[in-house]
């Protein structure tokens, strides 16, 4: 009963010093591990900026493979607010009934297909499909476009050989350039067209700004969503009683979604660059060096969560920060939550049990820490 578990590798460092460290392409990172400290640093955007050199706040750093600034993610206040206010309503569309109906149809189809098969490799033949098809709704573009994205494989930046693959990254960047040109030639009601027609303080967004929003939308919601889905399937394979519980008590679906997201913390951490010499829990941080806000560690903080390493589907108070905290909290959270909500509801309705057949874990190496973030592959059988 522990193949689907995600152990907490940060506990010792979190309780002893509150900080961890790792190297990343000769730009080392001091990792902030406690929930309250992470929140404080996330809140303090003046001392810990996002608007550094594009790619630098991402870990592993993307400075060598990306020049375009992701928007609003790599912009600090006050400019951040103009972008965020412009884009936010679009990313709240998953709250609309019609959007949810379409998402439900996508998820039902994928589960029906999985039930009809003997076995399914979930990562590549379930989660990637679901994530890609759902993304057509978020972008408001034809469903068929998801086939292109599925064809890219699971990782936009990561290949078998390397965590940072410039060729792979360029597939995405060139694709977005192309789609922007198409939207200029033939404007529609898709996100590209909407952005191209938008203004902030009377100034139209440039192509480069639109590209920055689109890269964020594609990259931010790919591995994270795929891992959330895959890890949930693995969890339910070992906990059929939880599926039954959800089926009989759909009112716990919301707390269940939040709890799974807390436990999996699909984005391990996000970096910031210090703008001045400063301190984080008695550790000196030098100007122009990096810290990370380690969401995954914070979400297991025993000072905040009772039984932090257990999945408690009806956890009522759950102040997790899996979607970040403060100014830069996750723009795609509404979409991600809807996916998880409908996934859980539909699984509970259609699936009675899941047999775990074979799997290979995806372990991140972060200095001395090794963290399971998901699976490279996982084969299961879905039973009606």
């Amino acid at each position: 009963m522990n193949k689907s578990a995600h152990p907490d590798p940060f506990k010792k460092a979190r309780t002893e010093t509150g900080m961890g460290k790792m190297d990343d392409q000769n730009d080392p990172v001091k990792m902030v591990l406690g929930l309250k400290d992470v929140r404080k640093c996330a809140h303090n955007w003046k001392a810990f900026q996002s608007g550094a050199e594009p790619g630098r706040i991402v870990i592993p750093s993307e400075v060598n493979i990306r020049d375009t600034r992701q928007i609003p993610f790599e912009v600090d206040p006050p400019e951040h607010k103009g972008y965020r206010n412009l884009i936010e309503p679009w990313f709240k569309r998953p709250l609309e009934k019609e959007y949810q109906e379409k998402l439900k149809a996508i998820i039902s189809t994928i589960i029906d297909e999985a039930l009809a098969k003997d076995t399914v490799e979930v990562f590549g033949n379930f989660s990637l499909q679901l994530q890609s098809r759902a993304l057509t709704l978020l972008l408001n573009i034809p469903f068929e476009e998801s086939e292109t994205w599925i064809g890219w494989g699971a990782h936009v930046f990561r290949s078998e050989e390397s965590d940072l693959d410039a060729d792979k990254a360029n597939i995405l960047y060139n694709y977005i350039d192309q789609e922007i040109e198409k939207a200029i030639a033939n404007p529609g009601e898709d996100l590209y067209s909407v952005l191209l027609n938008s203004e902030i303080d009377g100034k139209k967004l440039t192509k480069e700004e639109v590209k920055g929003v689109m890269i964020l939308t594609f990259a931010g919601g790919r591995d994270t969503v795929i891992n959330s889905i895959t890890n949930s399937i693995a969890y339910f394979s070992e906990h059929p009683a939880s599926l039954k519980w959800l089926k009989e008590n759909p009112e716990i679906t919301n707390t269940a979604v939040e709890e799974l997201i807390r436990y999996f913390s699909p984005l391990t951490q996000m970096g910031r660059v210090a703008t001045k010499d400063t301190m984080v829990c008695e550790h000196a941080i030098k100007a122009d060096t990096r810290i990370s806000l380690c969401w995954a560690s914070a979400n297991r903080d025993e000072r905040v969560f009772e039984n932090p390493n257990e999945i408690v589907l009806d956890r009522k108070i759950n102040p997790h920060i899996a979607f970040g905290f403060g100014t830069h909290n996750c723009l795609g959270a509404t979409h991600a939550r809807q996916i998880m909500h409908i996934l859980l509801t539909t699984l509970a309705q259609k699936v009675s049990s899941i047999d775990l057949i074979d799997f290979k874990e995806n372990i991140e190496e972060l200095g001395d820490f090794k963290r399971k973030v998901g699976y490279d592959s996982i084969t299961v059988k879905f039973n009606a």
């Binding site: 809140h43 919301n254 939040e258 102040p319 997790h320 920060i321 979607f323 509404t334």
Partner: protein, 104 residues
């Protein structure tokens, strides 16, 4: 039944009635502007921030430590701040007036 009045940041007064559930859910179900309740009420997102009318703090009681910790980092928080997902509707809340907080 409890009658609860929300005063929005645009100074609009919205009075709603309910007997169960959280105040956040009541506000979200009735589209009260400024109350989003993104996390569905587990005290994670802080998008249901309200200021309790000073004369009504006895009705709502005090915030828990977890809630206080969340609010501590909100620039618009003051001594009357609550996350209204943590306010359970009951007769005790009848007549409550809540000012929807500004967001950053």
């Amino acid at each position: 039944m409890a009658k609860i009045t929300f005063i929005t940041t645009e100074k609009e007064e919205i009075t709603l009635e309910a007997s169960t559930g959280s105040v956040m859910q009541l506000a979200v179900d009735n589209n009260v502007p400024g109350i989003d309740g993104d996390c569905g009420g587990v005290c994670s997102c802080a998008t249901c921030h309200v200021h309790v009318a000073p004369e009504h703090t006895a009705k709502t009681g005090e915030a828990s430590e977890i809630e206080t910790d969340m609010l501590e980092l909100d620039d618009n928080a003051n001594e009357y701040s609550r996350l209204c997902c943590q306010l359970e509707i009951s007769e005790a809340l009848d007549g409550l007036v809540l000012q929807v907080a500004e967001s950053d």
